[in-house]
Subunit: 197 residues, 2 copies
């Protein structure tokens, strides 16, 4: 697939990232070679080295890009939904939808050899930082300890992360293409999870 038009804008780096994501979707991480990435981006096999030191650097950049995009969507949810419990419910939907929309990138973020592109679970980390803020807002009236609030945020993350993983690569895969059933499953899950103190 030749896409020479992209490089008129000097956007080879992005084209390489897009090509890598395509290769991951089609053949998984085992199929990922410089040759194949360059072929899909329509450039010479040596071209990727101008932008990435090695495959690990390219994969890290791809994971970071998706993390930033998911963080952006999380922040959008908070501006479009005024009430924190509604925000939390919407975040769950966005998280699972993102995983199903970008399966290769989502798997990549959680590959054992990738380390954690999230960089931990604190108020400063992308995606989780937003979740923690929303859980805190839900529990604003609570006199509970901050450790419990953090556990609740981790549990809320676990809930939707587990659904995403089971739908993507687990025994719930047969459900994943049925939008309405996925919505109902995520809604049941978040509605039944009590964040309050």
């Amino acid at each position: 697939m030749e896409r020479p038009e992209r490089y008129h804008h000097g956007n080879l780096r992005q084209a390489l990232l897009d090509a890598a994501e395509e290769v991951l979707i089609d053949g998984g991480i085992e199929a990922l070679s410089w040759r194949e990435i360059a072929r899909r981006a329509g450039v010479s096999p040596g071209a990727p080295y101008h932008h990435f030191a090695d495959k690990a650097a390219l994969l890290t950049a791809l994971a970071q890009q998706h993390l930033a995009e998911l963080d952006h969507r999380f922040r959008e949810v908070c501006t479009t939904h005024p009430e924190p419990h509604e925000q939390l419910r919407a975040l769950g939907m966005v998280y699972v939808a993102y995983a199903l929309e970008h399966p290769a990138a989502f798997r990549l973020m959680f590959r054992p050899e990738m380390g954690s592109p999230f960089g931990g679970a604190s108020a400063e980390t992308p995606v989780f930082g937003v979740l923690l803020q929303v859980v805190r807002a839900c529990r604003a009236g609570a006199t509970g300890d901050p450790a419990e609030t953090e556990r609740v945020a981790c549990a809320a993350w676990g809930l939707v992360h587990g659904l995403a993983a089971l739908l993507l690569d687990g025994p719930l895969a047969a459900l994943a293409t049925d939008r309405e059933r996925v919505r109902a499953l995520v809604a049941t899950s978040t509605d039944r999870f009590n964040v309050d103190a």
Copy 2:
């Protein structure tokens, strides 16, 4: 590592599975070669072919073995805990503990190229079948529809599966070695999830 004593009992098949799990733990699936498996089991490189047609067959057998063991532990929980809500709480602990105890096998069960060794999510499937039965017992008095009961069971699975995945290969990995924090996180998660109608 030579373990000739094992084969006096004709247990080469099990020795090969154990060796494969060791290779997975040390080097991940990329390091898995017949040569390395045979070396660790202390047999000739051709020996594995007497038991497994190919690597995929060996990995499937390994996943099935762990699935059977996890199913066994789930059933044990149900005999040692009489009350269904207590059973559910204990199942969550067992699930996360098993993932942390057998990280390579747990990852293997959910690798996209493995298909689903669970074989779906129904009353007949191992592990999930036990979970569904316990969720039904928790909701015994409920007049809710069976589809909601199934969603609740899937959500309960998602909850602990997500925690296991985030602890194993995600941003919660730093917590995974702290038994007490893991226990507290799983307890918070399951206590806050309402299975009842």
